[in-house]
Symmetry: C2
Subunit: 310 residues, 2 copies
């Protein structure tokens, strides 16, 4: 992997995965402003919303309005989660750059989250792919619970490879493997990523991590060392999974960016701007957020000497 440039891509998911389980609805104009500010930090991929039923996720009921309201920045890919054909049609009407489909590797999690079997998800994806045909819109497929299901536990490598192959057979172009409930560890991440990339060396592969057990940063670095160059992150580290109480927190954008910059890996994004935006999150959300760098400052931070001694 040493021949690859020391550079990663950040896919900012705070507006979708971050906000979807917030206790309070975030105003449409706050979402638009957040998206616009984030799109000017150098981040090139922004998951703006989800075209789900407003009943399923009321927090994202303004998907079309948010996408219509954003002043877009050239070079930034605006993406949205799409659960079904209706969602795909709405996403296309919103002039989306990329759609993201989701199926869980864990059968039980797919049943709980999507209310269908994996086979039924894949059938529906085939219908969605027909809607997407000729649109020129990039289709990414997320494999939720790749590193473990809250009901079934760890998933076999063969099952993960099966999910990827099913996605690729449908014409899905990029894959995201997700540690939906934050159970991955760095050794497991290395093994899964290495196995996938040995089978699919040129696959656009993104890693979606949660920091539930404080292994998010270590997992990201292990994945980087195994060859991953794209990460889902959420500003302030907000987000969670409703089926795993306590499993709050996507890996935090500014904390991950900080770690990579400290390690000499570029992200193309401006850390100071990200921290500034993150510091506004508590006011928007009405509560504190889990991020570290927004509280502690960067590793370069110096302090005034507290006085003369000796």
């Amino acid at each position: 992997m040493t021949a690859q440039p020391e550079k990663v891509e950040i896919n900012e998911v705070v507006l979708r995965d971050g906000l979807q389980n917030e206790p309070e609805f975030v105003a449409t104009e706050d979402k638009i402003r957040l998206a616009e500010r984030l799109s000017r930090t150098g981040i090139r991929r922004l998951e703006v919303t989800s075209f789900v039923s407003p009943r399923a996720i009321p927090n994202l009921r303004d998907a079309a309005e948010v996408l219509a309201g954003i002043e877009r920045v050239p070079g930034v890919r605006y993406t949205a989660l799409v659960p079904n054909v209706r969602g795909a049609e709405r996403a296309l009407q919103s002039n989306i750059d990329e759609v993201n489909l989701v199926m869980s590797i864990g059968e039980q999690h797919n049943l709980a989250n999507m209310r269908m079997t994996c086979a039924q998800s894949l059938e529906q994806f085939a219908d969605i792919m027909r809607v997407m045909e000729g649109s020129g819109v990039f289709v990414n497929g997320t494999l939720a619970t790749t590193f473990g299901c809250p009901f079934d536990g760890r998933q076999p490598l063969d099952r993960i490879l099966w999910g990827i192959e099913e996605y690729l057979a449908l014409g899905i172009e990029g894959i995201t493997i997700a540690d939906t409930i934050g159970v991955a560890n760095p050794r497991h991440v290395s093994e899964v990523v290495s196995t996938i990339l040995s089978h699919h060396p040129t696959l656009p592969l993104t890693l979606h991590l949660h920091n539930t057990r404080d292994m998010g940063i270590a997992n990201a670095l292990a994945a980087y060392d195994a060859g991953i160059r794209s990460f889902d992150t959420s500003l302030g580290g907000i987000g969670g999974c409703p089926y795993a109480p306590g499993a709050t927190g996507n890996v935090c954008t500014e904390d991950l960016v900080h770690m990579f910059h400290q390690c000499g890996v570029q992200t193309g994004s401006d850390l100071a701007s990200l921290v500034k935006i993150s510091k506004d999150l508590p006011e928007i959300l009405g509560h504190d957020v889990p991020g570290f760098i927004m509280k502690a400052g960067t590793s370069e931070r110096l302090y005034p000497f507290p006085g003369k001694h000796v």
Copy 2:
């Protein structure tokens, strides 16, 4: 490093580094009970207290009483921080197994923290070593701010090697390198640890990390991969440095143990017992603690399926 066993040693420092900056004094009997419970988790090295002036750190003014009150477990090394000759004498009277001396690699931090130059610290350590002579008590030396000083920033590798050589020349047997203010990153940790171990391959070397910027776990794993087999940790992730506001939190004992166990590295300690003790910390301290596993459970945790679907 693959020839070494997949095993690390935990040095639990919650009673010293964890409690020293707590806003409220923790009752002597609570400290004794905490030490006794921790000593029965399989942890083999326990920093119980600091023999500093009660004026400097009032929270640890009961050092001798705590050590006298503990029912000791055979095989556990009870250690104490010792800042000067008087402290060393008191530690010996308390039948300590190991004393820990501290000097900062950053000259300015040593001035702020110890109120003396590094040269003066080393002179004082020579006096302490004379007191320790013939006692059979192991002497460990900590190099604070090894990975960065809050006033001077990053420290040169030569300076770190100089500190180690000064310690070894005094007869100090083990060394702890400390990321006192939580600025280390995994690549820097790898570089520092590899450099030290290439010069001193058999040195008993411990790493003391803070999780200030959420890189504690990643730093520990990087250090492990570079050859370190001993870690200072603090139950619940409590602790901090008074000269670096926001720099709270030693790397959390149970979170580090969990990560290592997940990665197939043994710690000799019982995670379930550690979590149980950690869950009692908020009541002892009167506030929440930063640990993750005590809130989220381990990665093996499964959840009941939320209902029948499809």
